[in-house]
């Protein structure tokens, strides 16, 4: 160990760099909860006192509740749709070998790296061309598009290496097709499916640009927050709301990742022996 240190003279500098880097990433995030419990309406140090009043006001703001409700509807619809489509695509890509498999996979993943504002504008044009009036429904369509790549990533790692003979073994032991799905297929891929639902929901909940372009008069939470930022007095409320969203996202993504790993471990164990 000491020998290694001798050959790495910059080791302490690297450590400092890493600390600063992480601080830069997460410090702003820390400010959010700190100022959300401050009595003063302006986010400034020194803090003037501890309060939970900003949180207490949240449930008494009708516009916020509407926005939260809209976000919930959009989030659930988008995550269910994206996961359903993702299951079909992931199963096809992991089970079958067909021409163009790789390029199709690439095309499905593309929205991950496309500039979101370009996607949003293109979708707006398409929706208008199709004669759809802007509403939460169009937001759902937009969110499905950007959720599918995340959903696919999670599902593919859950489905990869799913040994088909497991389903055959179940049938061989007397189980019906439906029973096999219920007792073997579903429990094996369930963690991946739940993980995909959580990830998609989180993405949809936090998404701003596409929702901003595609919604009509109904605001989702990020759009509501954006609207509130114009009023200085409303800032602490926004911070409180932001903190809640942050915690919610963090918890959901953590659960999703734990489930994804569990699903991957289950199936890869089976596949490993086969290869």
């Amino acid at each position: 160990m000491s020998g290694l240190r001798r050959f790495l003279p910059g080791r302490s500098w690297l450590g400092a760099y890493a600390a600063i880097y992480v601080g830069f990433l997460y410090l702003p995030v820390i400010f959010l909860p700190i100022f959300s419990v401050n009595t003063a309406a302006t986010p400034k140090f020194p803090l003037s006192g501890y309060t939970l009043k900003w949180y207490e006001q949240l449930p008494h703001t009708p516009a916020l509740l509407d926005a939260a409700w809209n976000s919930l509807i959009v989030g659930i619809s988008a995550s269910v749709l994206a996961t359903t489509l993702g299951i079909l695509a992931a199963r096809a890509i992991t089970r079958y070998r067909f021409p163009g498999r790789r390029s199709i996979n690439g095309l499905i993943m593309a929205p991950l790296v496309l500039p979101e504002i370009i996607v949003a504008i293109s979708m707006l044009l398409v929706m208008l061309q199709l004669g759809l009036s802007l509403s939460l429904f169009t937001v759902v369509l937009g969110h499905v598009l950007i959720c599918i790549p995340y959903s696919m990533t999670v599902l593919i790692s859950g489905f990869e290496g799913f040994d088909r003979s497991l389903e055959e073994a179940s049938a061989d032991l007397g189980e019906s097709a439906f029973g096999t799905f219920r007792r073997v297929t579903l429990p094996m891929v369930m963690p991946a499916i739940i993980s995909s639902l959580l990830v998609s929901f989180t993405i949809s909940l936090d998404e701003f640009i596409i929702a901003f372009f595609l919604t009509g008069t109904e605001a989702t939470l990020p759009i509501y927050i954006w609207g509130q930022l114009r009023f200085a007095a409303k800032l602490p409320g926004v911070l409180a709301l932001g903190t809640l969203l942050l915690v919610l996202s963090f918890v959901m993504l953590s659960i999703a990742e734990i489930l994804r790993r569990r699903a991957a471990r289950r199936t890869s164990n089976e596949g490993g022996l086969y290869a």
Partner: protein, 367 residues
């Protein structure tokens, strides 16, 4: 342990079964009767149709034409989950989200036994495969050999009429494989269930089976006991697949109902049995002799039938030595395997030796 007698009662009847994929015939007009209580092996190289046949018996695939009957009942239209067969898969297909006990009890759940009876049968099955006490172990914490035993127990617990085994030992290392061969045979003898094993390993088939069907290119080439398959292969292909074989060109001098009189360059004039499947093709014929049926003659000994030649290669394998011997007149040198207890491993390359043989060991082979 005395051999368990095989009943002379058909358990599986395969009649004119063909399975085609477009123009390709994975199985071509197969006919086969497997008896009750028999350990039967389907042996052949990959792509010979053995797995296709096994999967059709299990119900995972259907014949394009022909019929399969199990225990007198025709299987058309009966799906895998309602057949009296159970399978041990090549990948074992252990359910990874269940523990050993739950895996073994999987099929019993549908029978709705009372829980004491279910538990008793699971314990019994685990005992049969020597997995007592491992019931609570998770499926992902098992070694390859243990997974194989769980797969066996899970199938046996259903008390099937036929147990199908798809290359069950191919994923194990050599030592474990040899141990499991003995155990599988012992288990089959103990439970008395008809076993149908698919394998590409001729030693596995020879060691475990009551009878073997050797398959090539979708056709069944020969069905016989291990000894007969090995000693009296019907053609060159079977002879070659079942281990080393020296092929010797011969001219037919006289053909009778059950025998052939042939002239060979190395072995002279020989009278040999004529196999049923022998088809004469002009005056030429091929004789085969296994490398271990040629015996090295030491200095002063002699034999009624012998050939002499020159050692051109020597390969040492521990318990045996493999010699390549050139015989004047033979177009290919002979392979000879000799146990090392008399010093065959010390025969110098280049020396002249004499080999004894029994004309009975030279079998006529159809091409």
């Amino acid at each position: 342990m005395p051999e368990r007698p095989v009943a002379d009662r058909p358990m599986i009847e395969i009649t004119n079964v063909t399975r085609s994929y477009g123009a390709f015939k994975a199985l071509d007009d197969a006919n086969l009767v497997i008896r009750e209580g028999e350990f039967f092996s389907l042996l052949g190289p990959s792509g010979c149709g053995k797995t296709t046949l096994l999967r059709m018996i299990a119900g995972f695939d259907n014949p394009t034409s022909g019929t399969i009957a199990v225990d007198g009942q025709r299987m058309e239209g009966i799906p895998a989950n309602r057949r009296p067969t159970n399978m041990v898969f090549q990948s074992y297909a252990i359910f990874p989200h269940l523990n050993v006990e739950q895996n073994v009890a999987y099929g019993l759940k549908r029978l709705r036994l009372d829980s004491a009876e279910e538990k008793r049968r699971v314990e019994e099955a685990l005992g049969q495969v020597s997995l007592n006490g491992l019931g609570k172990r998770g499926a992902t914490e098992l070694s390859g050999g243990q997974r194989q035993r769980v797969a066996l127990a899970r199938a046996l617990v259903m008390r099937p009429k036929v147990l199908l085994l798809d290359e069950p030992l191919s994923a194990l290392d050599k030592k474990l494989r040899e141990q499991m061969q003995v155990e599988l045979r012992r288990l089959q003898q103990a439970v008395g269930i008809t076993f149908v094993l698919v394998t590409h390993d001729q030693y596995e088939a020879l060691a475990m089976s009551d009878r073997i069907a050797v398959m090539f290119g979708g056709r069944i080439a020969q069905v016989a006991s291990p000894k007969e398959i090995y000693q009296r292969p019907v053609n060159r292909q079977v002879a070659d697949f079942l281990g080393g074989m020296n092929f010797v060109k011969a001219e037919i001098v006289e053909e009778q109902n059950a025998s052939l009189l042939v002239d060979t360059l190395g072995f002279g004039r020989i009278k040999t049995d004529k196999p049923k499947a022998f088809v004469r093709n002009g005056s030429g014929a091929t004789l085969g002799i296994r490398p271990e049926r040629l015996r090295v003659l030491w200095d002063d000994s002699s034999a009624k039938f012998e050939v002499s030649g020159k050692v051109v290669e020597r390969h040492y394998f521990g318990e045996i030595t493999h010699l390549i011997v050139e015989i004047p007149g033979l177009e290919k040198p002979l392979s000879v395997t000799e146990t090392n207890d008399f010093g065959a491993d010390d025969i110098p390359v280049g020396s002249s030796i004499r080999l004894a043989y029994d004309p009975e060991a030279l079998v006529a082979l159809a091409d």
